[in-house]
């Protein structure tokens, strides 16, 4: 995971400022700012002579984000009966999910995986959180569970789609971020290793969402079984190259934070027990837990289960990390894929400084030139044709005249002949056996 990033959602084209402090949305003031060393620009480190006051920046960010409120969306995936709703209620200490009413045996069971989402606005010490939980009832419950992850994947992608569409709108003041920031995947506590449906579903989800695997109902397992099971699950995950969410470690954090992060990371997958009811322990304390005839499991006791660590990862420490990773890595990857598949090529000339009036002028001139050229061409063609026609006509005229002369001469000759014969006849000469022309007069010849 990189530690350089730009703030989005603020309208500028996201150019990294070369000497900037990067702004974070809603981070707790304890996370240090990291300086951006982008593009190889040489950064001169100066020492301050006096107090300037920009150390107050985190507080300003803090106040602003508290005012804005936070949004967090998580999805729970797992077979029915693994305690998903109970765990969500336990995590956020509110009854987000009402107790499930069971259908009578004669009721119609749904035949596909449904996607249901519940939202709640909760507040703690003035900080408002809009929490959305997306549930997937029906996952893994049918006889044939082929493609049961499809509705889930489609839902995640639909949320990315809607965010992309919001980003591309003309007015981007109000962007609602309902992308899934974390996905809690519930594993059945068999003690062996991952089931095929778990492997397949995780493989489909890990590139689109932060996957956090959880061993559900972990009070069925003894300590050794939990350790073995976790090792086997991690081996399976590594074998299939599934990428689960890892808490990022920054170099300039204090030792305490590093130790905490390591502890959390070592407990993945978390073996949790959920309970939204209070029970009394044998020594009289009232705790959240489950009461068995042989003892009481305390949910908040770190010795009994990993619930505390899960809550730390999800809420106390890494909620912002999850959100950022979703935004910066998962969403960006998906966006790139989608735009490439839509045929959008990166065009770097698009955003150069252009005066639109000049552009229009240029275009007009080009257009007129084109028109003029076309006109000239057409004229040329026209002239050519006219010439051809003239030549042809002239030729035919000449031919006609030639013929006319010929005919005239022929007729003249005939006339002379006739006159000759006439003289001869008048002179009493015998008629020649030549026929007396019966005056074949042509129309336009008159003697």
């Amino acid at each position: 995971m990189t530690d350089s990033y730009a703030s989005t959602g603020n309208g500028d084209a996201s150019l990294l400022t070369p000497n900037g402090s990067s702004k974070m949305n809603g981070s707790s003031p304890s996370l240090p700012t990291t300086s951006n060393e982008a593009g190889g620009a040489s950064i001169i480190r100066k020492k301050l002579m006096g107090f300037v006051g920009f150390a107050n920046l985190p507080n300003q960010v803090h106040r602003k984000s508290v005012r804005k409120g936070f949004q967090f969306t998580t999805m729970v995936v797992g077979e029915s009966g693994l305690g998903k709703s109970t765990l969500i209620n336990t995590l956020f200490n509110t009854t987000l999910y009402p107790p499930k009413e069971t259908l009578p045996p004669s009721a119609e069971r749904p035949s596909t995986v449904a996607i249901e989402s519940i939202s709640a606005d909760i507040e703690e010490s003035g900080v408002r959180l809009r929490l959305t939980v997306v549930d997937t009832p029906g996952f893994g419950d049918f006889v044939n569970n082929d493609e049961s992850w499809k509705p889930i994947v489609e839902n995640i992608e639909a949320r990315f789609d809607s965010y992309l569409e919001q980003e591309n709108r003309v007015n981007r003041q109000k962007i609602m971020d309902n992308r899934i920031h974390a996905c809690l995947y519930f594993i059945q506590p068999t003690g062996h290793s991952l089931k095929p449906i778990d492997v397949e579903c995780m493989r489909q989800l890990h590139t689109k969402v932060n996957l956090i695997p959880i061993i559900a109902k972990a009070d069925t397992l003894t300590d050794e079984e939990v350790v073995e099971f976790k090792a086997r699950i991690l081996a399976d995950i590594a074998y299939h190259n599934i990428h689960i969410f890892q808490a990022p470690v920054y170099e300039n954090e204090d030792d305490e934070a590093i130790a905490e992060a390591e502890e959390i990371a070592s407990k993945i997958p978390f073996a949790v027990v959920g309970s939204d009811q209070e029970v009394t322990t044998p020594d009289g304390r009232k705790v959240r837990g489950r009461a068995y005839p042989w003892g009481v499991v305390e949910v908040d006791n770190e010795d009994h289960c990993d619930f505390v660590k899960l809550r730390q990862m999800l809420v106390r420490t890494y909620m912002e990390e999850l959100r950022e990773y979703t935004n910066d890595v998962l969403y960006e990857n998906w966006r790139t894929e989608k735009l490439i598949s839509m045929g959008v090529i990166q065009d770097s000339s698009v955003f150069k400084e252009i005066n639109p009036a000049i552009r229009i002028q240029e275009e007009r001139i080009m257009h007129e030139a084109k028109l003029a050229k076309m006109e000239a061409e057409m004229k040329m063609v026209f002239q050519q044709k006219v010439q051809e026609k003239e030549a042809k006509l002239k030729q035919s005229e000449e031919e006609l005249y030639a013929r006319h002369r010929e005919m005239k001469e022929a007729l003249e000759k005939q006339r002379l002949d006739l006159e000759d014969k006439k003289r001869r006849i008048e002179a009493g000469r015998p008629l020649t056996p030549e026929k007396i022309p019966t005056g074949r007069k042509k129309g336009f010849l008159r003697t």
């Binding site: 045996p105 419950d141 005839p293 042989w294």
Partner: protein
Amino acid sequence: MAAATVEEIRANAYVGFDTITQQIEHKLLKRGFQFNVIVVGQTGLGKSTLINTIFASHLIDSKGRKEADEPVRQTTEIHPVSHVITENGVRLRLNIVDTPGYGDQINNENCWDPIVKYIKDQHSAYLRKELTAMRDRHIQDTRIHCCLFFINPTGHSLRPIDIIVMKKLSEVVNVVPVIAKADSLTLEERDAFKQKIRAELQYHNIRLYPFDTDENDEEEIELNESIRNMIPFAVVGSERNVIIDGKAVRGRKNRWGVVNVEDEKHCEFVYLRNFLTRTHLQDLIETTAQIHYEAFRSKQLLALKEQTNPRNAQ
């Protein structure tokens, strides 16, 4: 001629034919008994562990996938294992059939077919041996006497695959449903779950063992009633011993307590074990022979008759 009620006559002196029970016992002890069980359920529900716990010996190994590079089984496999255990001179030949791969794939359609086929094959083999002209004096009985069906402790209701398979199995074998890994349910959850399961089984008309016949006397009927109220048994299995109050008992140890497998307040393992071995063992074997096998046999023979009759008619 109407069957007259038989009058019981008391003999004047002791004849001694009441020792027939001992003679039979002596004969049977020499031969030994045969009991065949099949376990059906998803991977990881503790089937092998439970069998080992019931018979208090390591009979079958867990067949779960332990390594990442082990391939997943693509179909339901049938793994029969035979053992002989002895107790007080009584020899029990146990045949345990494991079904790894059941319900493990993503698409589980017809994953129950190999199981039903195997059960029917055993009936068929017995029938063939019965019908041969020169048949053995004592036919080896490989028919499945009992099917332990393991239910996932979700706490909600039966899954569709469970209902389908139980229905198919209850037509060919005695089915005893069991809630596996019952230490994940609190007592209230367990009761609610059982009620839901019973309602669903009734709704789908699934006939579960024990069946009531006319031959049962009052005591037996009562016993069957109590068993029916407890089905499905919520059990916990364990092969390992833990120390409770200085005694070594089989159980599971956690940081918050120790589950004692043999404690009735913790789980119903004791009832299941008594049911299977102490009270209904003989009845299971008999019911298989009298009800399931007879049904299969009559169907087969009728089918044979159909085949030969049209041929004769021609």
